[in-house]
């Protein structure tokens, strides 16, 4: 086995050494490899050490090649959706490309939700799907589906490889496309005969022949932007997931620029952690469940500096009333994000790190100063908004408030290297509001697609990338059941992921909307037959804890920290009636934000057009 691999490596080396001593070109000896071996070699050359997958008939040659090597670890998930989310968690927490391997037909279709999730959140994924042999394509063969057709709208790009000699090139191209520009998922569909066929291997190239995303911004545009920034009286930085994708260095530059100017900074759900949340310049998350101060500052600003955010509908509310009096600078790597929903005054295409670097350089070179007096007044206004203390809640009595459980989690994880993933719903919004992210890549949540069932597999992927870190999936009892089978994966790989369930027995966000918009007719949002999560954890081979009273919360959190070799489920019974505030009712402006239940006139607040929005 090992000997065979050795021989193969030598073959490759022979191919690489193309010139002889006299400088005379020697015809390279082509290293014949099977398609499956080419896949493994290409992954190795891309620096891949971990892949997530599930075997099946159409990918058996690749699984055979995996068996005969030791450099790539395969994590066996329990459902292909879990494989993609795990790869997303791995990618988002490590900055690397996440790699998935699934079979044809149902393997591919099960991966579709994950691929769409990665597309919406711009996560670099390369997903290999098996396919029936080339001669059977289009024949309705067993476990056949039109994978490239199905995944075309939910990937950044996809390939069907019919010639083994194109395979290596395609794989390297796929990695380049997945990670450069605006990152995203790429599917490579591999017929089984191509995996068996012998072909030649080629190494990675530094450039795609044609695909050239713009990385470095136009200097004239950046100069204008800096001039506008210096003229601002009520400025705000509005940062998003593009900051995280631009990498830790971009976040360092953002911090530098924010602190140099003394401007306030807010972030989208996707961008949390790009700017340290405990810093006083940070106003909290903005948007539908964002803070009062962040939303009102966005509404009232005169210069908005959007870096790597896309004016998502969760952020803007009613488009015509969005930040009506501001000049808007929009930095994005994707030209199609510009003027998609909000018309901006100054678009800049480029990667956030390059743009920030240039902004800082120009700011310093030209000796710009901020308008200190105006900025002071702006901060006084912001501090008044802050004084409303929009996230306040009352922990009284014996029922645990979900916010309290998260605040305790925040306090007790302080000083620990902690990664948080979430499912989707109320718990996700509370996690965004009450937890603190000081660094990028520590917060993994399904933002664009809003995929329930994301958090547990994402936590598994994150733990694979950071074996010694504390990885917690903040979950709801409804979401967690959507990919609960991945507990089995966590047990198999001895991953000490923590599933922290805020159990209110309802699909909380659905219930909240039904309460506010549909006259309290709670249609199908109550789960009548929940499992015993402690026993469920034990049945999988993990550990389960339950918290029923406020006093229990600290105890279970400390207990879950102690488990180091298997997953833990912590079932926290929380107030089933609690709603998530603040909230901007759909179809409303930022300044029409509702702070809490006492001013809950939501039924009246949302009317007409707002009703049809989600």
């Amino acid at each position: 086995m090992a000997g065979a691999m050795q021989a193969q490596k030598q073959n490759l080396m022979r191919e690489e050494s193309k010139t002889s001593g006299q400088g005379k070109t020697v015809v390279p000896v082509p290293a014949a490899m099977s398609g499956a071996e080419i896949v493994i070699q290409a992954l190795r050359d891309q620096g891949v050490s971990t892949i997530f997958g599930y075997p099946g008939g159409a990918v058996l040659p690749i699984y055979d090649a995996l068996f005969r090597q030791n450099s790539i670890q395969h994590v066996l998930v329990r459902h292909e959706q879990g494989a993609v989310h795990a790869a997303e968690g791995y990618a988002r927490s490590s900055g690397k490309v996440g790699v998935v391997l699934v079979t044809s037909g149902p393997g591919a279709t099960n991966a579709v939700t994950g691929l769409t999730d990665a597309l919406m959140d711009s996560i670099p994924i390369v997903c290999f799907t098996g396919q029936v042999p080339t001669h059977l394509i289009g024949n309705d063969a067993f476990q056949e589906c039109d994978t490239t057709g199905i995944t075309r709208p939910c990937t950044k790009h996809n390939y069907l490889v019919k010639d083994v000699n194109q395979l290596a090139r395609v794989i390297h191209e796929a990695f380049l496309v997945a990670r450069t520009g605006r990152p995203g998922p790429v599917v490579i569909d591999l017929p089984k005969d191509v995996q068996f066929a012998e072909g030649t291997y080629q190494g990675p190239k530094q450039q795609h022949p044609t695909y050239r995303p713009q990385i470095v911004p136009d200097r004239a545009a950046v100069e204008k932007a800096v001039e506008l920034i210096a003229s601002a009286e009520r400025p705000i930085f509005y940062t998003g997931g593009g900051m995280i994708n631009a990498g830790p260095q971009a976040c360092v530059l953002l911090k530098e620029f924010v602190q140099l100017t003394g401007f306030p900074c807010t972030s989208t759900l996707m961008g949390l952690g790009a700017y340290p949340m405990s810093d006083n310049h940070f106003l909290g998350m903005l948007g539908m469940h964002g803070t009062y101060e962040a939303n009102l500052a966005m509404h009232g600003c005169d210069v908005m500096i959007n870096i790597g955010a896309r004016f998502d509908d969760r952020v803007t509310g009613k488009l015509s009333g969005f930040s009506p009096n501001s000049k808007k600078i929009h930095v994005d790597i994707d030209p199609s994000s510009i003027n998609k929903s909000i018309r901006v005054d100054l678009p800049i295409i480029g990667n956030a790190d390059k743009v920030l670097e240039m902004m800082l350089e120009i700011w310093r070179a030209r000796g710009y100063k901020v308008k200190a007096e105006a900025l002071k007044r702006w901060w006084q206004q912001i501090d008044k908004w802050r004084g409303r203390n929009c996230l306040s809640y009352k922990q009284t009595g014996s029922i645990i408030k979900p916010q309290y459980a998260l605040e305790r989690l925040r306090e007790l994880t302080k000083g620990k290297e902690t990664f948080i993933t979430t499912e989707v719903g109320q718990h996700q919004m509370w996690a965004a509001q009450f937890l603190r992210f000081e660094k990028p890549n520590h917060w993994m949540t399904s933002g664009g697609l809003g995929t329930m069932g994301y958090g547990l597999p994402a936590a598994i992927g994150t733990q694979m990338a950071h074996p010694d870190a504390l990885v917690i999936d903040v979950a709801g009892e409804a979401s967690i059941l959507m990919n609960i089978q991945e507990m089995s994966t966590a047990v198999q790989y001895r991953l000490p992921v923590k599933v922290f369930i805020l159990n209110n027995q309802w699909m909380g966000m659905v219930r909240q909307w039904q309460e506010m918009l549909h006259g309290g007719r709670y249609s199908q949002s109550y789960t009548e037959a929940l499992p015993d999560f402690v026993k469920l954890a034990e049945a999988f081979g993990g550990v389960g804890f339950r918290a029923e009273k406020p006093d229990d919360v600290d105890k279970v959190i400390l207990e879950m920290f102690k488990v180091k070799d298997r997953p833990t489920i912590v079932d926290v019974s929380v107030d089933p009636k609690e709603n998530c505030f603040p909230m901007i009712p759909s179809g409303k402006n930022h300044n029409e934000i509702i702070l809490g239940p006492e001013e809950n006139q939501m039924g009246q607040a949302i009317e007409g057009d707002g009703m049809v929005l989600v």
């Binding site: 057709g149 075309r152 790009h157 044609t210 695909y211 713009q214 990385i215 488009l319 030209p335 199609s336």
Partner: protein, 183 residues
């Protein structure tokens, strides 16, 4: 979204001639709710493996801007030009019109064809196929008039278009292209 009036735009799109590229373009329009009035495609440079798609669409200014940007995002798309915004351009399509009728009607049809500059592509038995290459308006008008002469079957290509003057739509080379690839 703005309530600005919808207007007609003609796009020229150079793409890598590879399987699925047309599906990507059409899927983009369908998925994002953009309108396609007409679409034509064929290979234009076999050695460079390039095809050129001409798409006629309608939309408000922000939508038209989005269509251009969204097309530009597709990996096999090499260049997108909005010919309508670029300046003056020639836009033509071709129609084949089959006429079956009495000698009188056929004579009338022949006169119309002469008037519009259509030629006879085929004559078999009582059936005549006229071929006209012209602007869509001229073709509309020709078809409208020839209806009474025994028009029985009609087929039209979509528009093909090219900008006037020295403006050339070719693929960006590394030198002319300001963009930079990541290492």
């Amino acid at each position: 979204m703005t309530e600005d009036a919808s207007s007609r735009h003609c796009f020229a799109v150079l793409v890598d001639n590879e399987p699925g590229v047309l599906a990507r373009v059409i899927g983009l329009f369908a998925g994002r709710g953009y309108n396609i009035q007409s679409l034509t495609v064929d290979e234009v440079d076999a050695s460079a493996n390039l095809s050129r798609i001409t798409i006629v669409t309608t939309g408000a200014p922000m939508v038209i801007e989005q269509i251009k940007a969204q097309l530009g995002r597709l990996v096999p798309v090499r260049r997108v030009v909005n010919l309508t915004e670029q300046g003056k351009y020639v836009e033509h399509c071709t129609a084949l019109v089959k006429v079956i009728g009495t000698a009188d009607k056929l004579k009338e049809a022949q006169q119309l064809a002469d008037q519009f500059g259509a030629r006879i592509a085929d004559k078999t038995g009582n059936a005549t196929i006229f071929e006209l290459t012209a602007t869509t308006h001229q073709i509309d008008s020709f078809i409208h008039k020839i209806k009474t002469c025994g028009l029985v079957e009609l087929v039209r290509t979509g528009s093909i278009a090219m900008s006037c003057g020295e403006f050339i739509i070719d693929v960006p080379t590394q030198d002319t292209n300001q963009r930079q690839a990541e290492g």
